[in-house]
């Protein structure tokens, strides 16, 4: 199961994750710096450095996790794996998919990416694949919808 032919999110997901980690950190650093500079210069400097370090650390973590995402369209089900520290592998049968979302936040959209999310009747399923190129996301959505329809099973 693990040595299947895994597909991965677009390499642009790395860029998206860089933005998601660093932009808030820089904004937070500026905000803290400006506010604290009124009272004490040292406090401002410490806060700025701390915010930037936290951002950098988050960035490293998020970059490492990008590589862990993978999915395989098998004959009857979709496999999704993710996570490095906690490794998760989900099997979602096509017949169990109730609907499929394609979501793109502002960062993802600016890079032409989208997240595909699958919903089953179980709340715990939580199956999603982030950072797919927009056309791959659309293809996957259509294909999954088609397969789901052909294979649909009742509760």
């Amino acid at each position: 199961m693990l040595n299947a032919d895994w597909k991965h999110p677009s390499p642009r997901l790395r860029k998206a994750r860089h933005l998601q980690a660093l932009v808030p950190a820089v904004l937070l650093a500026t905000g803290l710096g400006v506010v604290l500079a009124f009272s004490s210069f040292t406090a401002a400097a410490i806060a700025v450095v701390a915010a930037l370090l936290a951002g950098a650390a988050l960035d490293v973590l998020m970059q490492r996790r990008v590589g862990a995402w993978g999915y395989v369209e098998r004959e009857d089900d979709l496999l999704i794996r993710r996570g490095l520290l906690v490794r998760r592998l989900s099997v979602v049968p096509y017949g169990r998919m109730q609907f499929i979302d394609v979501i793109a936040g502002p960062v993802e959209r600016s890079l032409g990416l989208a997240t595909v999310r699958l919903h089953t009747a179980a709340a715990a399923s939580d199956a999603r694949i982030p950072g797919l190129a927009a056309d791959e996301a659309a293809r996957l959505r259509d294909r999954l919808a088609e397969l789901g329809e052909a294979d649909a099973a009742g509760l």
């Binding site: 199961m1 520290l85 049968p93 089953t120 179980a122």
Partner: protein, 424 residues
């Protein structure tokens, strides 16, 4: 037919019964202010106005609500300003429950609740006269199961009755109840000695303890005279001292079954049996009421009684014969001795629990997705857990701390078995 065609209103006393329930909550909220001394005339006036508005709203909501059975749908129209017309396809009904709060029983009324599958939530008809509720229930069930609606309903065959004494004893032997007892003991001690420290503690704990007492009462009410009967469409569970309820668990709609043996009940060899049916975890509009609706099939019973019911709920289920490797003790020291799992072509079964012993069954036809999760501690020990997700809202099953390679094999095997079960 049965006088159920055309549009109907709910019973005219419905707003009164509903307001009655609100009134109880109202008193509970405002009693402290009344007792608190500062009882000015204005307060009473304001409370009166609030109550009048609530009753008025109830009457209006009664006036604009109507329902009818249309073919194989139940339609409910309601709302004054924002009319809503809801259509509940009866083929998707998971269960029909009759709930009768104390006040409703006084007036001979009952509420019907239809639990729908998927995202449908639940349809509620509150309140109907008992007779009408019964005929409507029979008719809706007949439509839901596709049988002829004039077939007389056979008598239920009672399988298990929980003695009141046992219900009470079992509830006393739960942690919240023991806290409650300890609390009253402290109160008495405080009154006897006049110690100010104990009094302070007692005062601070009072709100939590009131909540605790209410929860205790509710659980007792649910377990009071609980009977499980064999009905044509499945298992029927009745219970209640003040608020009575009759719930049906249709055959083939069971998503998961759980057998719980709390540690405090061990000396008596009692256990509790729960069933999970499909439903939403979070309803839109925050109606979390459904969550509570799902009650124990058997609030407290002997092992033999539980096994009798299990034979009906999960007939021929396999035993959990496999154990995780010994090194799993490092990861789950308390749980290890309870961990086991097993499956055949139709059911997966797993046991777990730190203090209590918990055993869960999942029919493989109900599997929604499967997950293998390997946490950092598990990876160092070469272990992984396989989760079995169902559409139930409370519990699935999990094969915990399997050997890493075994877990992949189990995942593959369960995937294949679930597919075969689904297609059968």
């Amino acid at each position: 037919m049965n006088g159920l065609d055309g549009w109907h209103r709910l019973h005219p006393l419905s707003p009164a019964v509903r307001a009655g329930r609100v009134l109880v909550a109202f008193i509970a909220v405002f009693l402290p202010t009344f007792l608190g001394g500062s009882r000015s005339g204005w307060d009473a006036v304001i409370h009166g106005v609030v109550l009048a508005v609530l009753i008025g709203l109830g009457v209006v909501s009664w006036l604009v609500t109507r329902w009818r059975v249309e073919g194989s749908n139940l339609r409910i129209e309601t709302g004054l300003i924002r009319r809503s017309s809801m259509r509940y396809p009866l083929t998707q009904v998971q269960a029909i429950d009759t709930v009768r709060p104390g006040l409703a029983r006084l007036f001979g009324l009952a509420e019907l609740r239809l639990r729908m599958g998927g995202t449908g939530g639940s349809a509620r008809l509150a309140y109907l006269p008992v007779k009408q509720a019964d005929t409507l229930r029979a008719r809706l069930l007949a439509l839901a199961t596709g049988s002829h609606e004039d077939t007389p309903e056979p008598e239920d065959e009672v399988l298990v009755t929980v003695p009141v004494g046992r219900a009470l004893a079992s509830l006393v032997l739960t942690l919240p109840a023991l806290f409650l007892i300890a609390y009253f003991a402290t109160l008495i001690a405080a009154a006897a000695t006049g110690g100010s420290v104990t009094r302070t503690i007692a005062g601070y704990a009072a709100p939590a303890m009131i909540g605790n007492a209410v929860a205790f009462w509710r659980r007792f009410n649910r377990a009071y005279h609980a009977t499980v009967a064999h009905a044509p469409e499945g298992l029927r569970v009745r219970a209640g001292l003040v608020e009575t309820s009759a719930e049906t668990i249709p055959r083939g709609r069971v998503q998961a079954v759980r057998l719980l043996e709390p540690i405090l009940w061990r000396p008596f060899r009692w256990c509790r049996l729960d069933v999970d049916v499909a439903g939403q975890v979070r309803d839109r509009g925050g109606e979390r009421r459904n969550e509570r609706q799902l009650r124990a099939v058997l609030p407290v019973g002997s092992r033999a009684e539980a096994e009798q019911l299990l034979e009906l709920l999960v007939p021929g289920a396999p035993q959990p014969v496999h154990k995780p490797p010994r090194r799993a003790r490092w990861k789950s020291p308390l749980r290890y001795r309870r961990l086991s799992f097993g499956h055949d072509e139709t059911y997966a079964v797993a046991t777990s629990g730190r203090l209590a012993r918990v055993q869960r069954w999942v029919p493989l036809t109900k599997v929604q997705s499967l997950r293998r999760i390997e946490g950092p501690a598990q990876r160092r020990l070469g272990l992984a857990t396989v989760y079995i997700d169902t559409a139930g809202k409370r519990f699935g099953a999990a094969f915990r701390d399997l050997d890493g390679d075994d877990s992949l094999r189990e995942l593959e095997r369960l995937t294949d078995l679930a597919r075969a079960a689904r297609q059968a």
